[in-house]
Amino acid sequence: MPPRVDATKCTGCGICDLVCPGDVIHQLDKELHPLVRYPEECWYCGSCRADCPEEAISYVFPAVII
């Protein structure tokens, strides 16, 4: 389920929600980790992973892609 957020690194800053062009990631509350709300719509553009200051985001590619 792309993208995957590492809860031990995530500080809840919300940048991933801010930059996601597909409106896939939602940070509903500062205390919570971001929610990948529409995982099937992610097209692996890399914006959230590239901009995450904690390097907490990784992708899990489905079998058809790798």
Binding site: C20, P21, G22, W43, Y44, S47, A50, F61
Partner: protein, 563 residues
């Protein structure tokens, strides 16, 4: 319906720019030089959305030392003489200044040891300056904010507002909370891209033809919409960006038998061919049983390998992770649908100030008719970003001047109420199909090779009939939240764009550049050195043709084909 959707935000500005890619950012920057209040709205987020965010960063850069006539000759011949030479000259002269301007801002262009801009090869060019693609839009966002233009992200524009003949603003909604907003504007620039039908190519899933739908519904004319079937090429497993450069820097295509087949299809440009030739070649090789086809970078020189790794780090990381080393071995390759991006289609420009046929409305970038500088070429490479920058600049300038003269006009509450009802209607439905399923139906009549690479009259008739059915269904979709409301409006816009494509494609009874018809395989210069224009009329979509101003070629010493 979310509680926020019930509220109405009203904003008044001098210049409204719709779409925050490279063209939209340039329009906002230039407009801000001349006008007080400039607003840039973007459906996703300025800096990480739009086709320019996912480009390789090659900008075609003409300098006064270059031979304008030679450049023009190349694009004119390759584009089947559908371009306007005066527009081409303007593009060249303007981009020279714009790149120097960007350089003076400290844009991270690739430079040599003397500090001079490095020009690299790309598809069809030896003269592209290189800006790391993934930094380009972040840089532009900073510039727009620095200059004092207002940026609103997550605003999906659904209708333009009119007063008399002119456009006086737009309405839309916030894609997160559903809040409706009305923007009254002295002038409006559409820069929200082409239409990619959520195809399999990288990063284009949000570009759904809204530019064309907004302009059409407001009465503006569109041109060359049959050229909406661009392809790039990529691995079947994921998308590759930077192909324009790779095709010219040692990249080679081979078929199952190991033959370098591109020499057959384009003896001059070979592996560096424009993508309408490339997609056709791959399609024909596969149909002839010589597939699959492959691509590799084994012959790429060492210095270009280093530069590629530097410019496209994410791509090479992905390649490495999936065990593909194109520098060592070939990988299976396929045509990859891009749609109405970087091709001839778009909102008709009536003048070199990027004005549309409707007063107060301007178009820039992929939204505007790029055929004026590339004709029928598909996948022209670095000239796409050049077009975005130059038309953005020109549209922003003209829009600011128009706004100063006319001022902000009142659209009237009845019109706003009607537009609001139209915008939010899918949220109010208790029943209705999901936009995802319907969008897939649309993709089936646009993306497959028999609809895009090789066209035919009867197939286009059937696709058109299906597009009209889908348009009808798109008017009855249900959105459970604002996120799905975006997708409902995307489906409506893409279905309308599909109708434009097939009506224009049926009218053009010849083959030229990216438009290939198996029932009319020859180029017909006698009848078709023409642009096809369409606009909304009482009886539906009305099409007409206009002869290409061939007399303009003589000024540049170029002889066009005789008609």
């Amino acid at each position: 319906m979310p509680a926020d959707a019930l509220r109405n935000e009203v904003i008044e500005v001098d210049v409204l720019v719709i779409g925050g890619g490279l063209a939209g950012c340039w329009a906002a920057l230039r407009a801000k030089d001349l006008a007080g209040r400039v607003l840039l709205v973007e459906k996703a987020r300025v800096g990480s959305s739009g086709a320019s965010t996912f480009c390789a960063g090659d900008i075609l850069w003409w300098t006064p030392q270059d031979d304008l006539e030679a450049w023009l000759q190349h694009y004119a011949e390759r584009g089947g003489f559908l371009l306007d030479p005066e527009w081409f000259e303007l593009l060249c002269r303007n981009i020279y200044e714009r790149v120097l301007e960007m350089d003076s801002w400290g844009a991270p262009f690739e430079k040599d040891e003397h500090g001079d801009l490095v020009r690299k090869q790309g598809r069809g060019t030896d003269a592209a300056v290189v800006f790391p693609g993934y930094q380009l839009m972040k840089f532009m966002r900073r510039k727009v904010l620095e200059r004092g233009a207002r940026v609103m992200d997550r605003i999906c524009v659904t209708r333009l507002l009119k007063e008399g003949d002119g456009v006086v603003g737009a309405v839309g909604f916030n894609t997160i909370n559903g809040r409706f907003c009305t923007i009254k504007a002295g002038a409006t620039v559409i820069a929200s891209g082409g239409c990619c039908w959520k195809g399999n190519y990288y990063g284009l899933d949000m570009i759904c033809g809204e530019s064309f739908a907004l302009a059409y519904e407001a009465g503006a004319a569109l041109s060359n919409m049959e050229y909406s079937n661009t392809f790039n090429s990529s691995t079947p497993r994921f998308d590759i960006y930077g192909m324009s450069r790779f095709q010219r820097l040692g990249g080679k295509f081979t078929n199952a038998g190991g033959e370098r087949f591109m020499e057959k299809y384009d003896p001059e440009m070979k592996d560096g061919a424009y993508t309408h030739t490339l997609a056709m070649a791959m399609y024909r090789e596969m149909k002839a049983g010589r597939g699959p086809v492959y691509f590799d970078l084994i012959e790429m020189p060492e210095k270009d390998r280093a530069l590629s790794l530097k410019l496209l780090p994410m791509l090479f990381k992905l390649l490495e992770r999936s065990g593909l080393d194109l520098f060592k071995e070939r990988a299976e390759w396929m045509p990859s649908f891009v749609g109405a991006m970087g091709s001839a289609k778009g909102i008709k420009l009536t003048d070199t100030d990027c004005s549309s046929t409707v007063p107060g409305l301007y178009a820039a970038g992929d939204a505007a008719c790029q055929g004026l500088v590339i004709g029928a070429i598909m996948g022209p490479g670095a000239i796409n970003l050049t077009w975005a920058i130059v038309t953005g600049f020109l549209a922003g300038e003209a829009a600011a001047r128009f706004a100063q003269e006319r001022g902000v006009l009142e659209p009237g509450t009845a019109q706003i109420q009607q537009a609001r009802e139209y915008t939010l209607r899918p949220l109010n439905r208790k029943k209705g199909a999901s936009p995802d399923d319907l969008y897939y139906e649309l993709q089936k009549i646009v993306i497959p090779g028999e609809h895009s690479i090789i066209r035919q009259g009867e197939r286009m008739q059937q696709a058109l009939a299906r597009a009209l059915e889908i348009q009808d269904e798109a008017g009855r979709l249900r959105a459970q939240d604002p996120h799905y409301l975006v997708k409902c409006h995307e489906t409506v816009a893409s279905a309308l764009t599909t109708e434009m494509v097939y009506r224009s494609g049926l009218l053009r009874t010849e083959s030229r550049g990216g438009h290939f018809r198996e029932d009319y395989p020859e180029t017909d210069n006698k009848n078709w050195l023409k642009w096809i224009t369409l606009e909304k009329s009482v009886g539906g979509m009305a099409l007409s043709t206009q002869a290409v101003p061939l007399h303009k070629y003589q000024k540049y010493g170029i002889t066009p084909p005789s008609t």
